[in-house]
Symmetry: C2
Subunit: 612 residues, 2 copies
């Protein structure tokens, strides 16, 4: 890199600053000072270091860039505009309803792989991408730009830990240490040594740089890939750098400059600013692309009705079965693989399995990264522990990520381990994720077929599996489309429609048998798809039973199956009576707990009778 | 500590091992090997070091012990039985429905402050307790026993970070480095140096010990409080220590011994086992207790109807107002205090405020710790970022914690920042927490009165505040009991009941005004309490409008206000038509977004007309 190039880059950095200031002032909101601190680092990456096809941001061997400090979105948008991807004038539409240049980056934009803006999540996504590059034998590198404030998030250290364990020398984190948070200075100010020691303790190589010295930044970047460790670059910067009357001052987080201030700042920067037009960008190596196509079909399942198989075990079987014919399928777990049965996949395809250890946020973040690179990632743990990653899942919803989650050990039917291990709120959390599909199989055939559906469907899918063994009730050729339900019992004079899933479906079937002996008919529906709900099928059944529905679920009463059906069908006159776990449960035997909390066959039968 | 004492302690440790083995074998499930690795550390703490009144586990100056590795519950129970708190025979009722000796510890037991069992959460609780001890001028210390596996959880490092910043030398973490996780060895095995470097990088003093050498453990414990840093003791142990045929072997996580194996193990341990009966336990210093009583009343609010005040600002005002008369009130925030307005409390009562930086899991964990020590902790951040701490909040529900959460910036009404900053799933998450109260004020008076209710109510309360300024509509003497609702518009010939809260309440009122001009009357209800729902009031209003209800909420359609009302009232024939944010929203101006996503006055009026 000669002197002339450095001067050009300095000019481009100031051009990005000008864009960031102008766009946020035009929008009347945003984070110009957070852009200015990182402008030199971003310039070095985009115009002096990264290898990518700027005209095709999705090219499979492009270096990846994740803006973990998503509030610096205007800087990212400015960089891509300067590559020539879209006109720089568009930057002034920042944050408008009609523009996809939103307040924080989302994949509505072709150059954004994952949504960011909830801090501390980018590094996990980067770890997933870096692992994916290795799996696919591609030499792209993954760069994650973080803020210093977000290094307080534990998810950063979960990601750092796994990157260190895997010696991901194709992963580079750059921390923009600008000293100032939103409401006060960070705990460590400009003491980059604190961050250095931490990354080193987590198995990383580190470099300290002056984040405004392009030569120094590029020199450090030139040694990317050296050695076997991931690299953390700790860039000491000034918030608002380049704006003489604002830089390094408190009280400027998330505030646009006034028109007058912006004019003054731009006047300061303009003399040394330079367009990036014509600036060369190194091309990525032309390497073979991994397949992004699924198989035409999956091998069949081979259960016998009456076999006792836990749906969690069927999940493991299904992963292996679909993994055989679909190389896109990868799996991740959080040291529960012997309980979730993802261990079956691990044993068969060890290179496509990532043990994430006990760090659920990072597991979901990594899976999102794998999904963004064209894989079909299945992540599993106890269902209740996915709540640890609720924010990552929420943001994956904003990313419209292709993410598959399988949560085992739901409800009181797990028994003796007690409430801390019982997923009793997972349906409520997962239903409220934008665009999610929520699945809840009762038997092994259904569980396996739903895993197929998850692989085929592009988006976030959650599979709720159970701990106890349950009998196989479906034939191997039964289909379970997303959005469906199965009417298992129905006769002309049924009085009530009972809807269950998982453990409670079998209780409903037992209740139906018992009630039949007393001459009371009930319709029983398997609601294997909680979202989107099989609204028409359930409504049709309900209407035949005087609109009377009882829902029975091994879940708290809020936000689960009962609320889903009531929320969708009460407008049509359907009356939903909910049986659910209405109090904080206790340890005990599964069958004792189903009885105590009123979701067993006896409770269902009693409820039916009370409504007659 | 002389040789005789050490021999006694060795005997007690083996007694605890015997109890743990016998109890889990009797239960047929549990984690005996995880108990055995930590038995010497627990013995050293309970019978050789900690100062506490064993007959009164709640005594305010007792040293605190948090079993972060909650699956070692039988060891904790054994230790307390050996102090004489309850008969050792009870230990054999482990995991039975009729015993509070559950699979993982819960505060149903008098010696458990907080539920554990979701790994990596205990240290945050300990940080809260250690901060609380300082605030209350008490000299109790807080000991947190962790597993090595859980050190992969980011929440551990969030807690470690804050403990380091605050130089909490009254906090001691002991890591039971037993090398073996659930499904495989941990990433670092017995290399305690990895953990040492990490804790040191996070500002801790560390000591490595042989976790089975009582003399060494006690020597290190004797220097607790030395210097200004928190202390991490890295104890190298063997999983299953003391059971010759199991210790340090893989495949023994979460498995009880068979009856034969248990008999053999106990036969090995019995010769050197010793009851702790009569063993002296040092008493805590008798220091003045902080008040645990709330005030008789709060000073009045003084808003004028029509004033424009955001409910988030009213939250800050209320914190100061109630904080003036209630010294139990403390506040925490995650570097958003200038947005949530908790800054007002910080400025007034800096010593009662904890800046948690961007680390929401730890903030909620610390608040739970404060609550367990008799404080009334209010934690605030953007509502969407509380999803980061969903698992901590879930476990706080199991703890029946006295925890107050205030989430600001909800829904599309925040505008330009875009979906990553919009709380659109918070009602669904918070409703599904065991025993939670979910509040959603629309004006400043209501917000302030609800903060009072939160302080008075013992349990988990969530307050959903909004970003935009809204007019004050209530008088200062209006009461807002938990479980209530306000009927704001009602006349004899109303056709539909519209229920809103927050931003949408004002849209409903606008719609009522517009419809009135067209001769259409609607009932408008302010559902300021989403859980427990004002079921009777809403039902009564609905019945007067032919059971027709429209809910309108700045939230996704799942698990929020609409589902709550439908879920509770569809059984009574109430028909709920939901207006909500049915798609992933975009950045834009608040009013544009309310319109685009169909939750503004126009959409409400159109929906009303469509139902006539």
């Amino acid at each position: 890199m000669n002197d002339i190039d450095i001067e050009s880059l300095k000019g481009i950095a100031n051009q990005l600053r000008i864009h960031s200031i102008a766009a946020t002032t035009a929008a009347g909101s945003g984070h110009p000072t957070s852009c200015c601190s990182a402008a030199d680092v971003v310039t070095a990456l985009f115009f002096g270091h990264m290898r990518y096809d700027a005209k095709n941001p999705h090219y499979h061997n492009n270096d990846r860039f994740v803006l973990s400090k998503g509030h610096a979105a205007p800087l990212l948008y400015a960089a891509w505009a300067e590559t020539g991807l879209f006109p720089a004038e568009d930057l002034l539409k920042l944050r408008q309803l009609g523009s996809d240049l939103e307040g924080h980056p989302t994949p509505r934009l072709p150059f954004v792989d994952v949504a960011t803006g909830s801090l501390g999540q980018g590094l996990s996504v980067g770890v997933g991408m870096a692992l994916c590059a290795r799996l696919d034998n591609l030499d792209y590198r993954t760069y994650v730009l973080m803020g210093d404030g977000e290094c307080a998030e534990g998810s950063v250290w979960e990601a750092a830990n796994l990157a260190g364990i895997h010696q991901l020398n194709n992963l580079i984190a750059i921390v923009d240490v600008n000293r100032l948070g939103q409401s006060q200075p960070t705990a460590f100010g400009h003491d980059v040594g604190v961050y250095r020691k931490r990354f080193e303790a987590f198995g990383w190589r580190t470099e300290d740089v002056d984040g405004h010295d392009l030569e120094e930044i590029l020199e450090v970047l030139a040694a990317v890939g050296l050695g076997s460790k991931p690299l953390a670059i700790l860039a000491k910067t000034l918030k608002g750098a380049g704006i003489s009357f604002i830089q390094d001052k408190e009280g400027w987080h998330g505030k646009p400059l006034s028109k007058e201030e912006a004019a003054r700042a731009i006047a300061e920067l303009q003399p040394t600013a330079k367009s990036a037009a014509g600036h060369p960008i190194p091309a990525p190596a032309q390497l073979a692309a991994p397949t992004h196509e699924g198989p035409a079909s999956y091998p069949p399942t081979s259960y016998k009705t009456g076999d006792l198989v836990a749906t969690r075990e069927a999940y493991g079987n299904a992963l292996v079965r679909i993994g055989e014919v679909d190389p896109r399928v990868v799996a991740l777990d959080g040291d529960t693989k012997n309980s979730t049965f993802s261990e079956k996949f691990y044993k068969k395809f060890p290179s496509r399995f990532t043990e994430g250890f006990i760090a659920e946020q990072n597991i979901v973040g990594m899976a999102t990264g794998f999904g963004a690179r064209g894989k079909v990632p299945f992540a599993s743990t106890f269902s209740c522990f996915f709540s640890r990653a609720s924010d990552q899942i929420r943001v994956a919803g904003i990313s419209r990520a292709n993410l598959k989650l399988a949560g085992s050990h739901v409800g009181v039917s797990i028994g003796e381990d007690g409430p801390s291990q019982m997923g009793l709120e997972d349906l409520s959390i997962m239903r409220a994720i934008a665009g999610s599909v929520v699945l809840y199989p009762s038997d092994a055939v259904c569980a396996e077929k739903l895993v197929e559906q998850m692989a085929i469907h592009k988006g976030i899918c959650f599979l709720r599996t159970s701990r106890p063994k349950t009998p196989v009730i479906y034939n191997n050729d039964e289909a379970f489309p997303i959005g469906g339900a199965k009417v298992l019992r129905q006769s002309a004079d049924d009085k009530v429609t009972v809807v269950g899933a998982g453990a409670t479906l079998f209780e409903a079937l037992k209740a139906a048998d018992a009630l039949k002996q007393e001459g009371i008919g009930i319709t029983v529906i398997d609601a294997y798809c909680v979202k989107p709900l099989a609204k028409d099928a359930i409504k049709a059944a309900a209407q035949k039973t005087n609109n009377l529905v009882i829902t029975v679920e091994d879940h708290y009463p809020e936000g689960g199956l009962g609320d889903a059906i009531a929320g969708e069908l009460s407008a049509d006159g359907v009356r939903v009576h909910k049986l659910a776990v209405f109090e904080l449960p206790h340890s005990g035997k599964p069958e004792e707990l189903l009885a105590k909390y009123g979701i067993d066959a006896h409770a269902i039968a009693a409820k039916v009778k009370s409504l007659l």
